[in-house]
Symmetry: C2
Subunit: 462 residues, 2 copies
């Protein structure tokens, strides 16, 4: 019981720090009400049949203090065309904003800025959508959101603090957010997990025993077909064909399990508020790599101007394709990663083997395959042949004895993704350890890279 | 027709050089008769019920000029005990020899020396065996030989020269002899192949189209069960359960196919009499390795005092086991070999990667495996963990960053074979390229190693 008391106390302390106070809540709600009223009024003036609703964490009181993201959906009749929705929706959103940016995810929307009476700036995403009758009749990807919202709004009251704990815990572990850069747990997923297990601690207790393919089906009517593919399956209560946790990568799934076990074993507030890490300096980097004895090779280029959710899958595809090129040429990768920091995008490879001797075996056909043997021997007529394991083997000069030369010459043969490829066509650098000069963000990237994700120091309490 | 004429002419030239002349034949037959008479006389004097017969190539006129090996079998009644056979057989053999060495293959025998009237030395192997009624009733491994002899003696007359061509051709290709060092074609196998195809050239024409698992069954009653295991299956006409070609390795099999195609494409006497290769010097070796950019590592020890047929399988086993150790430690082997030269035995490894950085990933259990995860995290409590592909990964210090250190410390953990292991227990050296000092035989070993086995220059005639 003492342990449970300890956990309870820590959670209470954390809640105190992350729960929005009444002033913050009132402020957020006031902004939301102000924007909704403005949209509805304008729609009526413009003769547009549409109304605004508040969705997301600010609609459900599940935002972490200081991190309110206001999401307003502008609901249009399901009958209008996509073109109309886009034109009228965006025009309406723009017309009521003091300032705005047009953005695009799976769907265009407006990121709007408002100024209140005291001149303070407020932001909100204004998203046009179709008010479909049922979540199974989606006309656009965002039409599901109002259904999610309604589902959570009805059930979450009383559990908001548990959601806050979970969000903060995941954020600290680096796995909050379903965006492609992170592949973690979305806010909606957090809410569903809390609904399923009733409390943060109860969720952790369960998560610490999760197996690959863990399935959660709150409404008990899941028809999801993708079993085996995803580490975590959480059936969407408003669309039983959909896995809400589809974006959760295997490693994010495992990181939650790992953090859950560690926290339950040695509860501590530091799980929610990790120490801020100092950026790594260039000198520190060079010294560390020297100790490790490895070689870093960075492929550096201008970040293409697309959103991260488009860019990161391309970077990962490029990472896989370039890794394959490197290993096919018999060099050996220790670890690799990709990132975007400011205007720069890069692939980075830490190598165990980056130089190879000039000799290389070229394995030919089986000797018993007469036709191919004759072709092979004709091709290598001037060279000595070896017969090894029943095949001809000829010794050839290795084309690339250094991984940098390989990447400088063969990078374009890799499948890099459309936007990454276009950017690389405009120019790129291949830099080895001592040539990497630190730009903004690289110091903290390397800090994370070398600090690994979890410190077992936590376990030592037991 | 011109091509066939060319081949015929070359074969005739070769035959002239390798066929024993009448003088040599008479001499050999005289020695055989002399020894047989001596054994039979002595047996009768000693009251031993035994008689001698001539077997092998000298009994069949299929020996290459200058290379007559006289084999005399002393036939004992099948009814006597093994102990009696050994005692009486060896005593009888010793008693008629001017000088002898006791040897042991699968069976003890006497290597005898005789001096003729002119004081010239002659040698012969004197092998006691059981005169069993049928080849299926063997009491010892050598009892089959008299049956082989009888089978060939009856059928080979008229084809002796074809056998000589084949033996010389195989010798030149380095694949004549079924001993473990070579794993090639035995004399008896050569004779069977000639019986099957009637001529040397016809055999080559067929061999150039052989596939893995080629089966030759002269008497058409093979019951051999090992199909799939051996590249070449030649059913023993005197024992249909036996594959006469069981000792032929895949690479020896392929070398015959390859040489057959080359000879038929560009017939030349050089296929029978390859140029003598000059021994490689130590300086030449070091220079060549520098160009190749590889590193050689030699495990050198005293050759154990066992026959090569016992030693070579052990050396190859040691080679495989040490290769596995090297690759398990993430170094990379380019080629490896073993040999015995004089009193020295060695394993040699040519490496592509012989140094590695101090860092090493140690892959732990899947995170979802709770019990093992807890064990793992406790073990590595002081270290940072990474989660990669659903598993814990910890970075450890690589125990061996250099392959020489690895071999110096861990060689004894390899499975090396009884006699090799005992010799290594008495002492061994692990030498890298520049530390290898050339002893007798090493220069020609390395000449062969680097010259590869076949030169495609031959193909260029076409």
């Amino acid at each position: 019981m003492r342990e449970e008391d300890g956990i309870k106390k820590i959670c209470e302390e954390v809640i105190e720090r992350i729960r929005p106070d009444e002033r913050e809540k009132n402020k957020v709600h006031a902004v939301i009400d102000f924007i909704i009223a403005k949209i509805n009024k304008k729609a009526s003036e413009m003769g547009i049949e549409a109304h605004a609703i508040s969705v997301g964490s600010t609609a459900r009181n599940t935002w972490v203090s200081g991190e309110a993201d206001i999401d307003i959906f502008i609901m249009f009749p399901a009958g209008i065309s996509e073109k109309d929705l886009k034109e009228k929706g965006l025009a309406l959103a723009k017309s009521i904003s003091d300032r705005y940016e047009e953005r695009y995810a799976s769907h265009p929307y407006i990121h709007a800025y408002f100024y209140d009476a005291e001149g303070r700036e407020h932001e909100a995403d204004l998203v046009p959508c179709f008010a479909v009758k049922d979540a199974s009749e989606l006309k656009s990807a965002v039409d599901r959101t109002p259904f999610h919202n309604e589902y959570i709004v009805r059930r979450i009251p009383g559990l908001e603090e548990e959601v806050l704990l979970l969000k903060q815990f995941l954020k600290s572990a680096g796995i909050y957010g379903s965006e492609q850069r992170r592949k973690g747990f979305s806010g909606y997923l957090c809410e569903l997990l809390i609904l399923r297990y009733s409390s943060f601690v109860e969720l952790l207790r369960n998560a610490s025993n999760w197996k690959y393919g863990e399935k959660i089906d709150i409404e008990g009517r899941g028809k999801y077909k993708g079993e085996g593919k995803d580490p975590l399956i959480v059936i969407d209560p408003v669309d039983p064909n959909r896995n809400v946790a589809a974006a959760v990568s295997l490693d994010s799934f495992c990181k939650l399990i790992d953090a859950a076990r560690d926290f339950l074993a040695c509860p501590d507030a530091s799980f929610f508020f990790p120490a801020r890490k100092k950026e790594m300096s260039e000198a520190e980097f060079v010294k560390l790599v020297k100790e490790r004895g490895t070689e870093f090779v960075m492929v550096l280029f201008e970040a293409p101007e697309v959103v991260e959710d488009i860019l990161f899958p391309q970077l990962r595809k490029a990472e896989a394709s370039v890794s394959n090129l490197i290993e096919r040429n018999e060099f050996r990768i220790y670890r690799s990663d990709v990132s975007v920091e400011g205007s720069k995008a890069f692939l980075i490879f830490e190598l165990l083997v980056w130089n190879l001797p000039p000799v290389k075996k070229h394995i030919g056909p089986p000797v018993t395959s007469k036709y191919h043997s004759e072709q092979f021997k004709r091709k290598y007529a001037s060279q000595s042949l070896l017969i090894e394991n029943g095949r001809y083997v000829v010794e050839v000069k290795r084309k690339y004895t250094d991984v940098v030369g390989l990447l400088k010459n063969e990078l374009r043969s890799c499948s890099l993704g459309k936007d990454v490829s276009a950017s690389i066509d405009r120019g790129y650098e291949v830099l080895r350890t001592e040539e990497i000069s630190f730009f903004d963000g690289l110091g903290s990237f390397f800090r994370d890279y070398f600090d690994f994700c979890f410190s077992t120091v936590r376990l030592e309490c037991s």
